[in-house]
């Protein structure tokens, strides 16, 4: 179940609009993927995913000198905050960022809507 806080993070991570018609996370059907992920993934992976969403919402603003939560920030600042996670001096935060992007990618890059845009034709 995607909460309103998770939605803030995922909308900032993969927003609507942008280059070459790539859809946003929810336009690509990420909510369906997340439901399956929450049901199927092993416990450590699910915990990691929850921790990544938590860190993105509550910790990432601090990395750009802003007060949390992420929802308080303007859209451009949200993007800056999430980018800062991937460049953090803390290995743990970088790993959390990688996990956030990896799980999101699975529910995004595997969809027809995205694959069509990047010229991945079904074999």
């Amino acid at each position: 179940m995607i909460s309103s806080r998770d939605r803030v993070v995922l909308d900032a991570l993969l927003p609507s609009g942008g280059p070459e018609g790539l859809p946003g996370a929810f336009e690509a059907g990420f909510a369906d993927f997340e439901k399956g992920f929450a049901a199927d993934a092993p416990l450590p992976m699910r915990l990691g995913w929850r921790a990544a969403l938590f860190a993105a919402y509550w910790v990432s603003p601090l990395l750009i000198g802003r007060l949390p939560p992420l929802a308080r920030l303007a859209p451009e600042e949200r993007e800056d905050a999430l980018c800062a996670m991937g460049k953090s001096r803390s290995y743990l935060i970088r790993q959390v960022s990688l996990l956030l992007k990896a799980v999101t990618s699975f529910g995004y890059g595997g969809t027809k809507a995205v694959r069509r845009v990047v010229d991945y034709d079904a074999h």
Binding site: A12, L13, L14, P15, G17, G18, P19, E20, L22, F33, F37, D40, A41, P42, L43, P44, M45, R78, E79, L82, C83, M85, G86, K87, Y91, R94, Q95, L98, K101, A102, S105, F106, G107, Y108, G109, G110, V114, R115, V117, V118, D119, Y120, D121, A122, H123
Partner: protein, 495 residues
């Protein structure tokens, strides 16, 4: 004949040989043992997949065919994903089917360790001849290269360095780039479609959804295997072995099984070796066909001996490529839109590091830390890979290394050589695993003897890469199959 443990089919039988694991080692051993006319049972923890049902979505494949849904990690200073198949056919179903003979210099190292009689080069080469014929091993044909494989050829030609089409077990490769999610065309000669059906045809029973928990050892002899089926309620099973139990569950699972079975050795689960790898992405002016072409169709061993590195092409589905791209939000999407113009060259090193494998609360507790020498090798390898990419025409290279610029331009590849020494700055994969039940003539020096039997338990043999005394510097499936065949044929001769 097959039994699906997930469907709750009960079985409790006796066989001449019980083989634990159905990957490159288990399938090869089972086929050789079944050919002797003795009864064989193969136990596989994962499910049997129908090759016709293979899709092209990575998460779907991870869920059904990868251990821990590809969430298994080695812990050290850095967290490193450890990739293993968990399906009938093991990792051969989800790897790139690469066939490299163990290089002569590595065989010479094994001989220097006193293993020339146990692992004789001449016999291994004879097996490799046969396996290559069985599984249609051949250099990747040009029509299956696609853009990204051709780029390595171009880069190597321009630099005047050694690189060649990768020798793979495949015939009629359709260049779908789906080795990782299961070959949909059936061109890949995995154990699922070759040695396992052949073992079955010779009478072997294959049980899937059957997790081996313990080898039953009585009076110093292995008499069977007990475990749990994956059906609801996890019912137990027993497969009794009249002649021998063959453990071929991988360098991670085999030592854990032996430990749970009461085998004691200071070397069990130790000396865990691997080939850690890290990728480098090059951006080109034109599409590089990252999604089309043999998954790993070209490689360079130019610096295998001096720097202990091997550089390989790799084609991956978008969802895996995207995860490593830098940025978030619109910046991340801008990089995604460029992905079709990228090529990925991966660097793997024959690492000096040795780690350990123990039972942990969520499965295997794998400890592994790269050494300073390993980091130096990797940095040199990355520089070499960047030189190949630039020589092939890359306009920029994305290292994905913390502490280095997000993109490097031609002439800046030397920055990779002087990159950070800390493994936490890189993103890694561990895929080739060795040494956790290593072979040694003396019980004090290893877990199994030169006859592949666990010291003190003469009919409990280990047939997988756990017994390897060193890592290889090249992809190990070919080595694993030849060694498993040697092990099985010696075991059959004993009877």
């Amino acid at each position: 004949m097959r039994i699906d443990g997930a469907a709750g089919a009960r079985f409790d039988e006796a066989f001449d040989y019980v083989v634990v694991g159905s990957g490159a080692a288990g399938a090869t051993a089972a086929r050789s043992l079944a050919a002797t006319g003795r009864s064989v049972c193969v136990l596989e923890e994962g499910p049997a997949m129908d090759p016709k049902a293979f899709g092209d979505d990575a998460w779907g494949a991870f869920k059904t065919m990868f251990r821990g849904m590809n969430g298994q990690v080695a812990r050290g200073r850095a967290f490193i994903p450890v990739i293993q198949g968990r399906t009938l056919g093991g990792s051969t179903v989800i790897n790139s089917a690469i066939a490299w003979r163990v290089p002569d210099d590595v065989l010479a190292e094994w001989a220097a360790l006193g293993l020339d009689d146990a692992l004789p080069a001449k016999e291994l080469h004879r097996y490799w001849d046969e396996i290559e014929k069985d599984l249609d091993a051949a250099p990747t044909p040009e029509e299956a290269w696609g853009g990204f494989n051709t780029l390595m050829r171009d880069g190597a030609r321009k630099l005047g360095v050694e690189a060649a089409p990768t020798r793979r077990y495949a015939s009629g490769c359709k260049a779908t780039g789906q080795c990782l999610t299961g070959c949909p065309s059936g061109a890949k000669r995995s154990m699922l479609t070759t040695y396992l059906p052949q073992a079955e045809a010779k009478g072997a029973l294959i049980v899937t959804g059957a997790e081996a928990r313990r080898v039953i050892i009585k009076d110093g002899r292995a008499v069977g295997v007990e475990g749990r089926l994956s059906a609801p309620g996890r019912p137990s099973f027993r497969a009794m072995a009249r002649r021998a139990v063959v453990v071929a569950a991988s360098a991670i699972q085999s030592p854990l099984l032996l430990e749970r079975s009461g085998v004691r050795s200071a070397h069990l689960g130790e000396h865990f070796m691997a080939h850690p790898g890290t990728p480098l992405t090059g951006l080109f002016d034109a599409p590089a066909d990252l999604w089309r072409g043999a998954t790993q169709g070209f490689d360079s061993v130019h610096h295998r001996r001096d720097w202990r590195v091997k550089v390989e092409t790799i084609g991956l589905p978008p969802e895996i490529v995207f995860a490593r791209l830098p940025g978030a939000g619109r910046r991340w999407k801008e990089k995604m839109a460029l992905a079709k113009r990228t090529a990925i060259f991966a660097v793997q090193t024959r690492a000096w590091a040795e780690g350990s494998v123990r039972e942990g609360p969520f499965g295997a507790d794998i400890r592994y830390d790269l050494t300073r020498r390993d980091m130096m090798q990797i940095r040199r390898g990355l520089r070499f890979a960047a030189e190949l990419l630039f020589a092939a025409g890359a306009r920029e290279v994305w290292p994905g290394i913390f502490g280095l610029p997000e993109r490097l331009l031609p002439g800046e590849e030397k920055l990779l050589d002087a990159g950070p020494d800390d493994p936490r700055c890189y993103s890694w994969i561990l895929s080739h695993l060795f040494g956790t039940a290593r072979m040694a003539a003396r019980p004090g020096a290893g877990v199994v003897g030169t006859d592949f039997a666990v010291h003190g338990v003469p009919n409990l043999v280990v047939a997988d890469s756990s017994v390897f005394p060193t890592n290889l510097g090249v992809n190990p499936q070919h080595a694993i199959m030849a060694v498993a065949r040697l092990c099985a044929e010696r075991l059959a001769e004993r009877a």
